[in-house]
Every structure is written in C-alpha cells, then in structure tokens.
Assembly symmetry: C2
C-alpha cells in the first residue's frame, strides 16, 4: 500500500504569480508536494486544471446553446470551432506548467467534464477537452490520471468508447475511473433520484474547485435499495472496461465517500477488479470515543480486505481539522494500522501459511505439471517435499491402515511413484510407530530420481526398502502388495493421471489390498477475475485460453452462493464434478491385469450454480479433495481445506479460463459442463457453460384451477419447457445494506411476501453461453 | 433445389445374398438407387446400418447394465471392451459394402444412437459407435451423413461436443443434424411429455428399422404451447452449432413431419440457418379435393420460402400409396410446383427486380466503395448507371424543383460529382420538360471520368453544360448555383462522405439555393444470419469483423419486431440512427466558406429493439432513405423501399458484423449504440450492443399503498434502477401456433390476463453485451 493525499485549490494556490513559474523558482505546487512528503505521504494527487479553464470551456461549449436568438451565438461558436480545431490551454488554466512540478504527481482530470452527457454537443466537446488534458498531462510526463466519473447509465457506452480512444491515443499513461461502490442517491428521498443527467446524482458539480465533494452525512434510508441499484456503479464499470477491452492500463479509483453496504456479495465483487486507488476523504471518518478519526466497521473490513491489491489510499482534507484529536497524522496512522491488520498482510507474514510460502505467486499462471510425461527436476521435488502437512497426513494414513490391518506375518507396502523418497520415509516411520511387520517396495520411473533413491537406500533405509525401477503400469513386481501408497494427485485430483497410473499399479495389489489414497473428487466454482482474464490473454497464443492453469488465487471472486435458485435446483457454492476410487470395483481386466480401454476413466459433469449478484465469469476454479485412509484426507476445497488439511502447501487451485467473459445478471443460474476425455495416448478436459435467468409467467385461470401442469424438467425441453419464472421474492430484502445483525429480517415478513406471489409460476430462460473450450484436446492435453 | 428419396429397409432388402455382394454384381442397393433415379430423384438417402448392428450394439452396451447379478456381466463387458478398443462392423451390419453402392448416396447414421442419453455409458458408447459409422462412411467416400437427432435438452452440450469431435475427425464430410421445427410432443397429452430421456419424445425408437417414423396425425392441442416450448428445438440447434464453432460443414435437416405452427417469428428464424435438407414423409401430405397429395397451407408457405436455401427435399414412402391419386410422381410434381412458385425463384426470373439484377450476389460481402479516395473505374459507373429508377427519381426531383422555382432569368444547376454524366443528362431532360431557362455546371474530380465528360460535352451537350475539373470541396466555380445536384449517397446514407463533400460544395450554392438530395437518414435493424457470420469469419483477418460490408441479404432474419417491450420503450423493427440535411442551417463557416472542423458531422445513436423470439445476433443491417426534393425520394428501408423507389437497383444494404454472436432470449430488448466519428483525415463508425430482459418484482404492501415509486429512467442508474420486471402478459397467447386468422385473440381475454398481474412491477435487467467494434477507426475508415 502507498498513501497519497489529494490537494485541491483549497490546499494550494494554483494561481501563482508569474515569478513563481520561472524555471528554478519554488512554486506553490513544488512547496505543497514537498510538504506532503514530509507529512508521510508517498504520492501527491493534484487537479490538472483550474477554474479558469472550466469557465472558458463553459462559455465556449455550454452557453452557446440557445444563444442564437440573442445574436451572441456566432461569436461563441467561432471561438468553440477554433478551439475544436486546435485545442490549447491558456496560462492559468492548468495547475502545473513545469516538468519538475509534475514529477511523481498523479493528476485528477477535470471532473466536471461530462463524457456521458445526454446532450450530443456537451459529450462531443467534453471528449475534445479530455483529450486536450490527457495530451497536456502526457507532455508533463504524468503517469497516472484519474478520469471524470461516469454519471449517466444511459450514455455509459459513449463514456466507455471515449475512454477507449484515450487509452489508444495516450499510450503510456495509467487511466483510472473514479466510482463509488454504489450510487449513494438511492438512499435519499425520491426527489434527488430523478435528477437530470446534467446534475449527476452522486458526483454533483463541486462548489468551485474540482475537489471531490464532501458528502451529506449518512441518513436513515428512505427506501430499501434493490439489488440492481446496488449494482449500478459496478455495472457501469463493467461496461466501460469491456468497451476498453480490459486494457491493463485502465484501473479503478474506488470512492469510499458514501457509507458501505453490509452485503458481502456486493462488496466482494470489487475484489476481482483492478483497484488502483481508494479515495478516502477525511469526512468519511467518524470520531471514536476519544475523538480520534476512525472508519465505520464496514469500511474498515473492506479496506483491510482490498489491501491485497496494494492500493494507493488517497486521503483528502486530512489537514482540515474535521476531527477533534490527532491532527493529520492520525488519519495516516489509522490507515497504516488497517494495512498491518489486514488478513492478506498478516498471513503473508506468518510462517507456515500458504500465503507466506507462496509470496510472489499470487494470480501467477503456471502450467500444470506433467510428471508422467516429463521427468521432474530435483528442485521441483524439493519444493513439494517442504510441505509438512501433506506428508504428515500420509504417515497418519499409513499408520492407521497398518494398525487396523488383520493379523499378518508381513504386510507389503508398495510406494507407486516414490520420487526422491518422501513417502518411503513416511511409510517407514508409520511402520515403526505401528510396530507391525512390514516391508516397503519403492517403484519409480524417473531415472534421475532413482539415483537419489539408491543413495537413500544405501545410506538410510537399507534392507527395509526394495527399489524397483520402471513405470508402475508395466513393471514386474516380485510380490503383490497389501497397501499401495501413491502421491499422483494434481490440483484437480485426476489431472496428473493418477487414475490411469493406479489402474496399472493395481496389477500388483492383492485382491483384498487397499490404495492410499482410497478415493478423490474434483470440485468446481465459477470465478470472476479481471486480473486472471488479462494474464491468460497476455499469452497472445490462441491456445492460452484453452488450457487449465495452476494458480494461487488472490484478486478473484467466486460468483456462486450457497445454492437455492429456481426450484432449488442449484447446488452449493463449490460443487463436485466427479469421483475416482481405487481399487475399482468389478473392473473388467485383460490377461495382463490391465483395463482393455480407458473408457472407465472418462467423466462428465453438469453443475448448476446460483449467482446472487451480477458479475462477469472469467473462468472456473478447480479443486480436489482426497480420502487417504479412513478419516485422513487432503483437501484444497476452499470451505473444507482448513478442516481436512490446514496449511497444506503443495497444491494451488486449478483455473479453467474462458475465451470470452460471460456476463451473469443478479439471481441468474450458471450451468457448467466439463468433460474428462481420453484416447489411447492422451487425457484432456473440455468445458462449456450456459447461463439462465428466472422469469415469471402469470397463471391463466385454467391453470390456477388445477389442470395438470406441463413440466419438462429432465425430458426433451428441460430447462426451456417452463419458460417464465421468478427470482426469490425476498430479493429486495436480502440486499438492504442497512439490515445488520441487530435488525434481522423477520420471518413473518418473509412469509407475507411469499404469499403475494402465489399467482406466479417459475421457470428459467437461457440468456447466454460460452464457446466449447479445448475441443478434442487440440490445445492442451496430458500425455499417457 | 434437388429432390431426394429416403429408402429404408421397407424399401430395400439390405440383407442381400452373398452373391449380390460380389464386385460387378447388381446388388439390391444398386438396383434401388438406379430405380430411384428413373423415377426422377436427384439424390438417394439410405440408412448406413441394419438391425443386426443395432442388436449387437444393444447386447454389448445396454443389456450389460444390471446384468452383473446374473453373472452375464463379465462376458458382455469383455465383448464391449474389445469393441471399444477396436470398433469394427460385421458383414450384414451395414447396408453397403462396395464403393459403387455408395456412389452419390447420402447416408442416415443409426438414429437410435443416444449421444445425449442421461446414462454416462450409453452416451460414451453411442459416441464410439457414431465415430465408427462415420469412419466407415468416409471409407465408402460418402459426402453427406445425417446424424441421429438430439433428444435431451439436459445433455445437449454432450451431443454438441461429440458432433464437434466428429467434424474434426472426419475432415471432408458434411454432417447434418435432423430436427423438427418444434417438439411435437408439446401438443400431446401430459403423459407423453414427462417421458424419460431414454424414450425421447419426438423421435421415439422406430419399430424395427431406422427409418423416420410416421407421426400420429395432428390432433387438437391439449395445452397451449409457450414461446419457450416452440423455441426448444431451435435452442438445441443453436447450442450444437455454437459448440461446433459454426462449422460450415454442419448443416440442418429440417424434419417437417409435425404440422407447422402459424407464428411467422418462430418459422422465420430458420431462414437464417444453414438448411441443407428438408425431410418430408408422404404421411405429411394431405389429400386435396381430388385425392391428390398436397401439403397444408403452413407447410406450403414455409417450403416456398426456404427454397432460397436451394435445399435437398427428401421424400420418403412416396411409393407406399398413402394417397388415392397420382402415385409417386404426384409428390415429386407437387414439390417442383412449390419450387416454381416460390417468391425467390419467381423474383430471380423477373427482369427489372433487384433479385434478378443481383443474381449470384446474395449474401456476398463487398467492401463499400470509397469514391472520394479512389477514382472509380468506368465499368463501376456503368453498373450503377443501369439503374432505371434512381435516375428517373433524380430527373423528377430536378424537374419539380425547376417548375416550382421563382421567376428568374437563368437558373444555375451544378452537378457536384458528375462521374460519366448520368445526372447531367437527367438535368438536361428536366430542363427541357420544365421549359425553364437553366444552365448546368458539371464538377468532377476523377480525371479519367472527366475525359468521358469532355466527349459527351463535345458530342451531346455542347454549350448547355460547362465542365469544371476538381474536387468540389476546393474548386473555384465561376458563379454560384441555385440548385446543387449530387449522387454521393452510400448504402448507409452518409458512408461515402456525402455530408463532408456537400459541406464543401455549399460554398458555391446561393443563400436561397437548394440541394438535391435535401436530406437523408440512416436506419438499422438487428440481424441474424449464420451464413453472414461465417462469411465474415472466413476473412481470417481480425479486421474482417470490424468493418461494414455491402451485401444483398438472403439467408437472414431480422430479429426485432414492431416495438413494444417493457414500458413501450422499444422502437420499431427498423430504426432511424441519424439525419443529415443540406444546406445546413446556421452553420458557422470560415472565410473560405468551409466549416472549421468536421464536428457537426459526428453523430451518435442509441436504439432499443424488442426481440420477440429467441435468436442470435450476428450483426446489424443498415439502410438509408433520402429526400431528393419535395415528395421525391430514394429508399432501401425494407418497409418503405417499394413505396418510395420500387425496383431501384443501385444499393444493397450495409452490414455491421459482430465479432462474437450475441444470444437474445425471447422477449428481450436490444440496445444498439452506433457512432459516426471523424478526425481531420477520416470518418469511421464504431458500434456496440447490450441486451436486457424484463424480470418481475413483487410489490410490497407499502409500495402498493401508493408511496412514491423510484424510477431512475434516464438518470444515473437508468435501465438498472427498476430491476425486476415482466414480459408481456400475453406471451403465451401470442405464440399459440393454432391461433389463425379465423380465431384471433379476443380483447376480453387480453384484458383479463393483464389484470392478473397487477401486483407485478416492471423493469429490465442487463444480460449481455458485445465488444466495441472498430474502436478509433483502427480497422476500417473512410478517407476524407
């Protein structure tokens, strides 16, 4: 995190005397910037233009409208046309004129420009002015410019188109869209909501300077806010960045001026967006018991959470003495305190956590390992051997299996895929602890790792371990095993071909023998992340969007919630795709003890997720959970990992990207299809998704009177057969940001609402789909 | 059109004696094919496999399920695994064994294969069988294979994925998906609708051969069909072809066995799809008064209409004597009669129609002309000079202007952009007819065309015409004109820069002078066409999807209807984008009489279309309409062209493609934004679209009692502010296919339905969007 201060004309006298503009002289801007640094700010943000510019622009571009009758039109129009042909500033219209003044400064462009005005000419002339300002900022080598906020949903496409043009004409600058998390006007009385676009509802004209306005204090809401109202600013952002084709130079400046809603779903979505700045005026702070400035609880939590974006937190008017105690330093200290206590920062500093182990790997795309096709390097083994949890779990599983094993003279354990030997070592520990008579075979096909194994046998293990060099699918083993132990799992369970390898190893398992792991499942959840979407596209290669990646998620948002949806057909937030178990029951095998085909290892899954809040699907998150033995397991399932194998480091989740983002409205349903396919030489995944929205259908009198209802679910027309249906009737109660723990929704209210909609029938209508990814395994596959 | 016959095992004895399989011998198949050709069929379609194959497949792949308890499982499973590892036919399982038998034959693959079965293993083994059949058909050099129909919406993604694999593994064959226009079971009693996917509802297992089953006769419907139910088969087709990435080798075989609904919107959508075959069993025909086979009116109209696809019409059982009179020949004659009387065929044969003039140009993409940047070839002028209507309209406009001109000694006419002189000639004719004193200046900048003008002056026009060589924007003219006549319009009106050129020409127009044309507008409509989508993509160049094309539409469907939608905010089917008029009023000009900037020629438009029936948006159709003078105009607006300028040949519509298709559900709304943008050197268009769906919102008691309602329309949150709304309550009445002209919807019924939904409030929710096309004019622009 960096701390910034926004200095407006209230803080700096931009109309400096001419003497101060001479090269070498100390200008008010230079002084203000230097002063801010001494107060502890890393970055200073200044407006680029002054009132003079605003006045001239308005005289040229606004006051000509309707002036023709007065005979003043022609002259103003002449000035405007001259300016449009050659846009140029006059001295005094810009806050900075020298390169040293702009050094390291972020600028706020004229926020009174209306790129989304209803009037065609205001839009047109705002665009010319914006280009003029950006061109001047670029001349001063400014690296970051904060754009005037969008205000008018009806013209948001024009706003987005203009910003896209700016991005291509200003090739190096970072542009940032300033937006509140929601439109605060939705909680004001009716009158202010129908305000014309010319006086925008959440960013009205500032009194005289382009500083961000101090908001009205939060009031008790006069109406409840609907889901769509809370979505409105995010929806505008989504359109703007989509029109700008997810340019990596387009970021967000979140304006935290209005109080935050308490609905996590509405806030979580911002975590998946490129937040660059957080705008935090002193007026947003409240006084604590001692009079020092602190933030309301919702804002605290939110800022702590978004610290993972390493944002620039921009304070304004912190020196204005709005709070009784602490002075300006108190605001800075408070924000630094939020950073230090943010979960991301805390975890990253705690040894033994995945976050600490994986620093620098957040949202970094890695190709999944193919240990069957490739012989791993020693350094790769070493990385994974560092995991204390995984091997402890294996030791425990082997231990319990041994302890529970029936009376026997000798228990034969085979480690299938021994690598450099970590499982062998753990088996030996388990044998020692269990005091059972046992012997270990270690099978390994990597000739390089086999050298390490030989060294360890010679120096550590001696006759307790027999080494066998070869592929477990073909190797001849001197005797059959009671227990086969393997660590062949990938982030998605089967994606490193554990099923196929263990099929081969089952040849040397006794009929009543067991496999550790005994079974594993793959899980999925729908994911939003503009970061990952851009990372995938940065690959340029078309195949980059057709291949899964291993990645430690950070700037992401899982779009699904805990089920429900139309007819309750939606499953939980994270859903099981499929399941493998070893040994297989009733398997048909040839004379070599191998399955004649790999058909039994194909899988397909179709899952339905409920999407409570509008979002953009960029891909699918994949996880696995395995049962090693009995109650001992391994899990990276986001809701179960801490329960099953806390602080395990070996696996990041897997990410199945989408070529094109899929927009999902609030209360929609997402059907994900994924296939695990195979031929004689390869295994691959294909994936695809469709989206649906509940719509309603009024019942005819006849239908009400009880004639049999058509229901095609599962049959020919399935989802389409009952077309118009209903979202939850509770939708507007759920998302009232002012419903807190102290004032829960009353059950009685809920019942009443449900009754009101009895003449509504439910169903869903299809609204979108993705393309089929990785068809035929053409772009990515795993070699058998 | 071609005529085909489908021969099933009822028609041909596929289990021929071994003697008949010898090379050179005449087999039953060869005899049947030869006999079909003598009866007038162009193509023969045969099943590829016999009952024997079906029985073996079922024994292997179906009867093993649950057989384990009987101890028969292992043996069957061994056979199945052996087959999966090496799929091979036995003699007698296929209908053809020799290359000459398959010569020119289309095959129907085993239609009992369930690629979309609910059971994983049935799906898996159906896919292997299908690949086996395709591989064998490919061996026999078969060019067209009709696929088993999809039956299960729930597993349609699996079906589509499989077909996509087939397309890539069988590189040359055309694959065709057989589908009825709707699922006929929706009009059957309730019981048959909940049929399990294993006994599919519209394509049940044929009794013993894989021939297409004779349907039950059409019955009075027991329930009304909803919009979504009528959509169901199209929706499945859309998913399949999307999963197959719009492969040009994937076509449709429309099964016209069930009676057709009378709703044009539901039928029109098929016009935009790649219909290759139409399946028409003899049982679909009814007997006319004399006992001859004819088709019901709906089917007649539909078949006439789709003749533009030049389909293969496939009859079956025409020789079975189902109708009293005419024998087999009567069916063929009847279909040929439908072809001859189809509008497409009739128009193409009528001289003077666009369809006749433009044969071979249907759905062919052309880059728009840039006559300002490029000097046209004489042959291009010649093509456009052939238009009898356009120049007649120009002559009439000039004539009327002259007749109405105030008393004057000399009326000066300037033809701005004279080309090879057609407008000059028409001006002279108008002058002669009007008997007014007038003189013509002809301005032309194309040096090559100027030679033609000089020849015509020397030989035809003499002193009646003065020639001026140069660009109308800069040329000096000896005297100012009373009337400037130009023909600078493109398919979209302004897309050949008529506004910019005429801005320059206005310098030499007298203050009270007029321009012919006086004004023009651009129009748009949302278009679906898989053909055009594929044509655009065939360009391979990424820019191909970012540039407009001139194209004569044929296999297209306009998705919008005549307005309505939520809050009636949707405009008509074809909507006006913008308007230009000449001369401009109150224009500000510099000393040279030119506008200092081109800002006044920028335009933007945002249009909202109502989409009654689910469809896929592939692009936007563009048209223009111009007023030449008074009531005289030119128009290619689809609903007005015949009124304004019937049989005008010069302009095909323009097509703005989309990079990715946008799915639009029934009753959705489409907002299209388009911009005409300019810099000092270029003009270009950018376009973008968003889709919305009405959803409902139950009113709370408080809201019902009359507290002021939030309505954000036009303000900040606009479309999103009132989120959950209602489609037309009439939706299921509108689309009942059995409502015909004889039984219109009663007004009383409508009112009643509207009352039922009074506790529903309306709004729309965003469901999708396109990308921004041609940003910054990077991919296509018009040079100034």
């Amino acid at each position: 995190m960096a701390l910034a201060t926004f200095l407006s004309a209230e803080d700096v006298d931009f109309h400096a005397p001419a003497a101060a503009l001479r090269d070498g002289a100390d200008t008010p801007v230079l002084e203000a910037v230097a002063h801010a640094h001494t107060r502890g700010y890393d970055v200073v943000c200044l407006p680029l233009t002054t009132d003079k510019w605003r006045e001239r622009w308005r005289r040229m571009c606004i006051s000509t409208m309707g002036a023709d009758e007065l005979g003043e039109g022609a002259e103003a129009e002449a000035r405007a046309e001259a300016w449009r042909a050659n846009p140029v500033f006059e001295l005094g219209e810009v806050t900075m004129t020298r390169l040293d003044e702009a050094d390291g400064v972020a600028v706020m462009l004229s926020d009174w420009l209306e790129l989304d005005a209803t009037d065609d000419w205001v839009r047109h002339d705002s665009e010319i002015a914006l280009q003029q300002e950006l061109s001047y900022a670029s001349y001063l080598d400014v690296h970051t410019a904060i754009l005037p906020p969008p205000r008018n949903r009806d013209q948001i496409a024009s706003y987005g188109r203009t910003i896209n043009t700016c991005l291509s004409r200003t090739p190096y600058m970072q542009l940032s869209v300033r937006l509140p998390i929601y439109d605060p006007s939705i909680f004001r009385p009716h009158a202010s909501r129908t305000s014309s676009p010319a006086s925008p509802s959440f960013a009205p004209e500032p009194p005289s300077t382009p500083s961000i306005r101090t908001p009205e204090p939060p009031t008790t809401p006069s109406t409840k806010a609907s889901e769509a109202e809370l979505n409105a600013t995010w929806e505008m952002w989504d359109i703007v960045r989509s029109l700008c084709a997810y340019s990596p130079r387009l970021t967000l400046t979140l304006d935290l001026t209005p109080p935050l809603p308490s609905v996590p779903g509405v806030l979580n979505r911002w975590a998946a967006e490129p937040i660059r700045h957080v705008f935090l005026p002193a007026s947003t702070f409240i006084a604590n018991g001692k009079g020092y400035p602190v933030l309301p609880k919702g804002s605290q939590m939110f800022i702590r959470d978004i610290m993972k974006h390493r944002p620039i937190v921009m304070l304004s008017r912190a020196g204005a003495g709005l709070h009784a105690k602490g002075g300006e330093a108190a605001y800075l200290q408070y924000v630094r305190h939020l950073e230090k206590t943010s979960p991301t920062v805390v975890q990253a500093k705690t040894p033994g956590t995945v976050e600490n182990f994986a620093r620098g790997y957040q949202d970094y795309l890695q190709a999944p390992l193919q240990p069957l096709m490739d012989n791993l390097q020693s350094v790769t083994y070493q990385t994974f051997e560092q995991d204390p949890v995984k091997y402890q779990k294996y030791e425990e599983a082997v231990y319990q299996a041994l302890v529970e094993w029936p009376e026997s003279e000798k228990i034969v354990i085979a480690v299938a895929g021994a690598g450099r030997g970590p499982l062998v070592a753990r088996c030996l520990l388990a044998i020692e602890r269990s005091k059972r008579p046992a012997l270990v075979y270690a099978v390994e096909k990597n000739p390089n790792a086999f050298v390490t194994l030989q060294r360890r046998k010679a120096t550590e293990w001696r006759e307790q371990v027999e080494l066998l060099f070869g592929d477990m699918r073909t190797i001849q083993v001197p005797e059959k095993a009671d227990i086969i132990v393997s660590e062949l799992l990938g982030s998605f369970g089967d994606n490193e071909l554990s099923p196929e390898c263990l099929d081969g190893a089952m040849r040397f398992l006794k009929p009543e023998g067991i496999s550790i792991p005994a079974s594993y499942s793959a899980y999925m959840a729908p994911l939003s992340s503009s970061k990952l979407y851009n990372e995938v596209r940065a690959g340029k290669d078309d195949k980059a969007t057709e291949t899964p990646y291993v990645v430690m998620f950070e700037a992401v948002n899982i779009l699904s919630d805990h089920g429900g949806g139309h007819g309750r057909r939606c499953g939980p937030q994270v859903q099981e795709c499929w399941y493998f178990e070893h040994p297989r029951r009733d398997a048909f095998l040839n004379e070599q003890g191998l399955p004649p085909t790999n058909s039994h290892n194909t899988r397909s899954a179709k899952m339905t997720f409920h999407i409570p809040h509008a979002g953009v699907l960029h891909g699918l998150a994949g996880y696995f959970e395995a049962t090693l033995y009995g109650e001992v397991g391994l899990s990276i399932h986001p809701q179960r990992k801490d329960l099953v194998s806390k602080d395990m480091l070996s696996w990041f989740p897997i990410f199945f990207p989408l070529r094109e983002p899929l927009y999902l409205p609030s209360n929609s349903e997402l059907q994900v299809s994924i296939w695990r396919l195979t031929n004689q030489r390869q295994v691959w995944y294909e994936w695809y998704a469709e989206s649906f929205l509940p719509v309603y259908h009024p019942l005819s009198e006849k239908q009400k009177s009880g004639s049999p209802r058509v229901d095609g679910r599962g049959s020919f027309a399935a989802a389409a057969a009952t077309p118009f249906a209903t979202p939850s009737p509770l939708i507007d109660a759920i998302d009232n940001p002012f419903i807190t723990a102290e004032r829960p929704v009353k059950v009685k209210e809920v019942t009443k609402r449900a009754e009101e909609v009895t003449n509504i029938e439910t169903g869903v209508v299809k609204i979108g789909q993705t393309s089929l990814h990785n068809p035929g395994g053409r772009s990515s596959w795993i070699g058998l």
